[in-house]
Symmetry: C2
Subunit: 123 residues, 2 copies
DNA sequence: CAGGATCCTATCCGATACTG
DNA sequence: CAGTATCGGATAGGATCCTG
């Protein structure tokens, strides 16, 4: 990290850094590291997916949380949403360049964890 | 922290990965990406810190959450805890090799976000 | 299929008080 | 200093029902 990041204090008496909650980056960090955000991002790294494909890929996620997570990620500019006006309607999600940028360290993180912790004793 | 992971059985032909399981890696991911986990890890990358130093470094964190986060991270083998039997007692926290391994992508993630989102216009 | 609205519970997390 | 224990408000998140 940039060494000076933490103490980016603005006013005396009011300590003010990214570790605290006011920084806009903090919101992105929160979304990315939210319970489901990381999985959505990693899932979409491979290829674009539709809503139900995402839901199946990330088993355990509820539709509500998927929609909510997706919305936050789209707003943050990490995920791109494409609606095809067919019948029935198809919505495809994919990563933006920013999303792909963040997907890398996220995948690396995930990778390092699983490399160290064998997923299943049975294989 | 979040231990309420969906229990899912392995079915033949069914994809079974860390995305939707009680895989041990999932717990680590949850701890690392917990509200405070990432900041503790990043803080400790620079150098070892004592409890109160961590608390001051990560402004906004309560003692309860710091202790709780630290405990989880120590249990996961990411953080090392050293007690010096002095008076008053001193406890120093530092990263294990595993912790340092994970700190890298975490820092990279954080770095890429802040690089894109300038923390403060006035800063 | 893709999601919004609602209800409700689990948990997170901060404040406070106390211990060694 | 370095925590632990407890309480209570806030919120995250699941289940279900409903719509275009």
């Amino acid at each position: 990290m940039t060494e000076g990041v933490q103490h980016r204090q603005a006013e005396p008496g009011k300590r003010y850094d990214v570790f605290h909650t006011d920084c806009p980056a903090r919101a992105v960090v929160d979304h990315v590291t939210s319970r489901w955000g990381i999985w959505v991002l990693i899932s979409l790294r491979r290829n674009d997916l539709r809503f139900y494909e995402l839901r199946e890929s990330i088993q355990g996620i509820s539709e509500k949380m998927l929609a909510q997570t997706l919305r936050a990620l789209v707003q943050d500019g990490l995920v791109r949403r494409e609606v095809e006006p067919t019948t029935p309607p198809q919505v495809t999600y994919g990563l933006t360049e920013f999303g792909r940028e963040l997907g890398e360290p996220l995948t690396e993180l995930f990778d390092r964890i699983t490399r160290r912790l064998p997923p299943y004793s049975g294989g």
